[in-house]
Chain length 260, copies 2
């Protein structure tokens, strides 16, 4: 099977011109087929504030009322996505931007209201890569914004890490897939404030141990859950690292491995 | 050659839920391959105002400073485009939204400053339909936002009528193309305030006559120039009509014909 790399890049990196350019230069050097999934939360919060729309977050997840949905549709699907696409084109990479509504790529359901009403937040139910594969095989690099749809005309706000993991899983039937989460930290850290305390490798049992001890907590838990789920469903390798290490084959960041 | 219909729809129709739904129902019934090009100026002006950004228009063209470019990128490429795509998906049409940066579809140059500095407004220099054709032939309906790029990472704001005309011309080497401009008026009118005064057919000599007499003026001139240019470059038929006549084969609107 052909190699395909799914890269998730955090909002902070793609929302500033300088770090975006550096990232795109690195991303360009990845050989084989590739897909980029991006965030954009900081810009969304900023635009919302300028529009007089209050941003409410619960456990790192954005409460997406109707006005906030319009903001994230504008920011993720328009501003951030199209600037990445134009940036890649400038580097000779034939990119095309998509949301989960385009090509019916990612269907989701509006998250059921339990304790918290997340509004127009979508939980993924289906990933359809039929037309996407045709495009990838033409040499196009899909750039995916963290938005999905319910198939009845409703756009939904969906976590970019989850989209990356689900896309990687769906593609693993057709490609030899590795999944890279890159962000502004060095990797999964033993001590959250010490960038030198990177855990070089994690398997499921070590993860369980660190989680039980409270060493790994907060925002890293859903990311790692996504990582292990991808590994269980056909993805060959998951790597969590600083974006500027993207071109280094190893010896940086955290490698997530299946249990031996 | 296979039939392909390029439809340009005015912003007003796609920016309101009710008229958008009606339009998409009609658009769905068009047989054969199809492409949709949309505007979104009213929403852009509205969002700009809410962000405290002044909108300046010269002869119906938006002066696009850096902040305004961000607004149109958000509104055209994100909000309007993705709501149309999700709306089409809900009707079983497999749509995918693009700007001119996606797939390197439309390259433009920043308009040279003469009397007026239009800012980040783009004049089209090249239309590349290589990958788009692959997607169209897969049954996908491209939905195109009025944005282009310069190939060096700069997005540009470009008139949607011109994009529709240029796309129709580029596609006419591979498909039997008809181009439909649909908007909220009945067609090209003899008397601007009388919707019953539709000119049923126009050829180049009649157009020149009406233009000389001042009957056709203002916003209709660039639209008709685009229409005649398309006809001269391979497009089989151009039709200008009210959006709600889209399903009627004829007997409405204005048919633009090449000279006999």
């Amino acid at each position: 099977m052909d190699k395909l790399t799914v890269v998730k890049v955090g909002g902070k990196i793609v929302e500033e011109t300088e770090s975006l350019q550096r990232f795109l230069n690195d991303f360009k050097t990845i050989s084989g087929y590739k897909i980029l999934i991006h965030g954009g939360g900081r810009t969304a919060t900023n635009i919302a504030e300028r529009l007089g729309i209050e941003t409410r977050m619960v456990e790192g997840r954005r409460i997406t009322d109707r006005e906030t949905l319009d903001v994230v549709t504008m920011v993720y699907g328009g501003l951030v996505n199209k600037n990445i696409v134009a940036g890649l084109q400038a580097k000779g990479c034939n990119a095309a931007g998509f949301t989960g509504a385009d090509l019916d790529l990612i269907r989701a359901v509006k998250r059921p209201v339990k304790d918290i009403d997340y509004g127009f937040a979508g939980d993924i139910v289906d990933v359809n890569i039929r037309e996407l594969r045709v495009i990838i095989n033409e040499g196009v690099i899909p750039v995916i914004a963290p938005l999905t749809h319910d198939g009845s005309g409703q756009l939904l706000n969906t976590n970019a890490d989850t989209i990356a993991s689900e896309m990687a899983q769906a593609l693993s039937s057709h490609y030899d897939v590795r999944l890279i989460f890159c962000f502004e930290k060095e990797g999964v850290l033993l001590h959250p404030d010490d960038e030198k305390s990177v855990i070089p490798e994690l398997n499921r049992s070590l993860y369980a141990e660190y989680k039980a001890k409270g060493i790994i907590a907060a925002g890293m838990v859903p990311k790692l859950d996504n990582a292990f789920q991808a590994l269980m469903n056909g993805v060959k390798m998951v790597w969590i690292t600083n974006a500027r290490n993207l071109t280094k084959a190893s010896a940086s960041g955290t490698l997530i491995r299946p249990d031996e």
